[in-house]
């Protein structure tokens, strides 16, 4: 937290200093008796910094506040750059899943940092990045890189990337050395970006993600029902109904120890005279037989030199994993309960669809020569999710709001 404050103060001071300098430059340029302006020397190095705060709340009594600070330094032509990001999630939750286990509202802090660098002097380049994330019951360390080739004067670009992520899953209040299990994630990405014409570009990216390890949540208890009761448990059945009908045994979640995930993503961009249309489509499948489609559309409209707004819509739909069940069946035999091998209460592994609608905007407050050198950014999204075959809830409404300040120093 101390590091975060220092980083935030440094970046904030840099942005404010840039604002003051930009406004001073602006007023000097606009002064009636200003001498004829000299041609400015163009700095070879460009630095960018951003301060964001995002707030999230939903109808399931979860709220998160996320301050983010990020910075990037590189040369003007993009041959090299180094960048970093640090964020903190301050989470407060009393969701139905927590209440159903008779637990109290809990609070948690997650800290995550990323450092990266890229070097691409000509047609071939590479970038590397490392990330670390820590919360009381979950730790993650990741590293990876991408190779990028330009062909045909950058009309065709190929990308090949790999990253490794090592996660440690534990329990709050118990050291990882006493209780934890590991999850290893290998990600291989390959893609091609095609320049279609002077205003349109298309990227196709394929990801293969290999996960191995036990990723079951150590707090997630799964209610069990007898074979004759299970079919009577309705979608969205309340906590009281579930508690009245379930069997006394309530085992922990148990997920398969490996999962291979595949996605194919297409990204399209078209630049109009005063706006950009962006369209993304991701098709997804995995060895848990979860299939999904995610579509996102944004239109960045340049309403003036200072003002840009972007309405957005995102639609996601998926089926449930092969071992998904609203009401798992357990039977008593040989002196104990016979449980289904795999069982989960993770709503995001069940069938659902969600629709996001949002509106963002940025207002340049930099000098009139280039207002975008300093800008204020805001975005508000509403995410409506329908759970098609779940206990406790049928839907969830979420609101996500971001306020940010972006500065460019040159």
């Amino acid at each position: 937290m101390r590091l975060q404050l220092i980083a935030a103060v440094v970046v904030g001071a840099a942005i404010v200093a840039s604002a003051a300098r930009a406004l001073a430059d602006d007023s000097a340029t606009n002064a009636p008796d200003a001498p004829a302006s000299r041609p400015k020397t163009v700095a070879p190095i460009v630095a960018k910094a951003s301060l964001d705060t995002t707030a999230y709340t939903d109808s399931d009594h979860v709220s998160v506040v996320t301050p983010v600070v990020s910075a990037e330094v590189g040369d003007r032509e993009g041959a090299w750059k180094v960048h970093g990001q640090y964020l903190v999630d301050v989470i407060s939750a009393a969701s139905v899943d927590i209440v159903s286990t008779a637990s109290q509202r809990w609070h948690e802090v997650r800290q995550a940092g990323t450092l990266g660098a890229g070097y691409k002097p000509k047609d071939f380049g590479a970038d590397v990045s490392a990330a670390i994330s820590r919360e009381p019951d979950y730790g993650s360390v990741a590293g990876g890189g991408n190779l990028i080739w330009d062909f045909d004067e950058k009309n065709v670009i190929a990308l090949l990337g790999y990253s490794y992520d090592h996660d440690t899953i534990g329990r709050t209040g118990t050291p990882f050395s006493v209780y934890s299990h590991a999850l290893a994630v290998h990600t291989l990405a390959g893609g091609i970006t095609l320049t279609l014409n002077r205003a349109a570009v298309l990227a196709l990216v394929s990801d293969v993600i290999i996960e191995s390890g036990d990723q079951s949540k150590p707090y997630r208890y799964i209610p069990m029902f007898s074979a004759d009761v299970a079919p009577t448990i309705a979608k969205g059945a309340s906590i009281s109904v579930v508690n009245a009908e379930r069997l006394p045994d309530r085992p922990l979640e148990n997920l398969p120890d490996s999962r291979d995930r595949y996605s194919l993503t297409a990204r399209f961009g078209y630049r109009f005279a005063h706006g950009t249309l962006r369209a993304d489509e991701r098709l997804y499948t995995d060895t848990w037989r979860l299939h999904a489609t995610t579509t996102e559309l944004r239109y960045y409209a340049n309403l003036s030199r200072r003002l840009m707004v972007w309405p957005l819509v995102r639609v996601h739909a998926q089926n449930g994993v092969y071992f998904w069940s609203r009401a798992y069946v357990s039977s008593f035999g040989n002196g104990s309960f016979e449980l289904p091998e795999y069982r989960t209460g993770d709503r995001e592994l069940g069938p659902l669809y969600s629709i996001t609608g949002g509106l963002g905007g940025s207002f340049g407050i930099g000098p009139s020569s280039d207002p975008s050198l300093l800008s204020i950014r805001a975005q508000a999204d509403y995410i409506g999710t329908e759970f098609l075959d779940d206990l406790y809830v049928k839907s969830r409404g979420s609101v996500l709001g971001t306020l940010g300040l972006d500065g460019v120093f040159q």
Binding site: D52, T54, V64, T66, V68, E77, G78, Q85, L87, D89, K120, P121, I148, E153, K154, N155, I157, A158, L159, G191, I192, T193, L194, T195, L196, N197, R198, A199, V201, A203, V205, D207, I209, R261, Y262, S263, T265, R267, G269, R271, T276, R282, Y284, L290, A292, T294, E296, R298, Y300, H316, V321, E348, S354, T356, Q379, I383, S398, L400, T402, G404
Partner: protein, 71 residues
């Protein structure tokens, strides 16, 4: 037969996609150089994390951007 049909469809899409490309010289990339044309993930850090938590799918977070063609 089904596999041959699939292969034919994929090959046709690739052919149409590649033939749709026109050679754009570096000095013609003014529109492509706009920052909004960078084909990276449109979501911010926190926004992307929310989507990752809300959706059972993953992937598609990296792509090479075409950009200004200046390096």
């Amino acid at each position: 037969m089904k596999n041959r049909f699939k292969s034919l469809v994929v090959a046709s899409l690739c052919a149409v996609g590649l033939s749709a490309c026109a050679h754009v010289a570096p000095y013609q990339r003014e529109r492509l150089a706009d920052p909004t044309m960078a084909l990276d993930d449109m979501s911010g850090a926190a926004e992307g994390h929310v989507h990752a938590v809300h959706e059972g799918a993953a992937g598609g977070t990296v792509a090479a951007s075409s950009g200004c063609g200046c390096n």
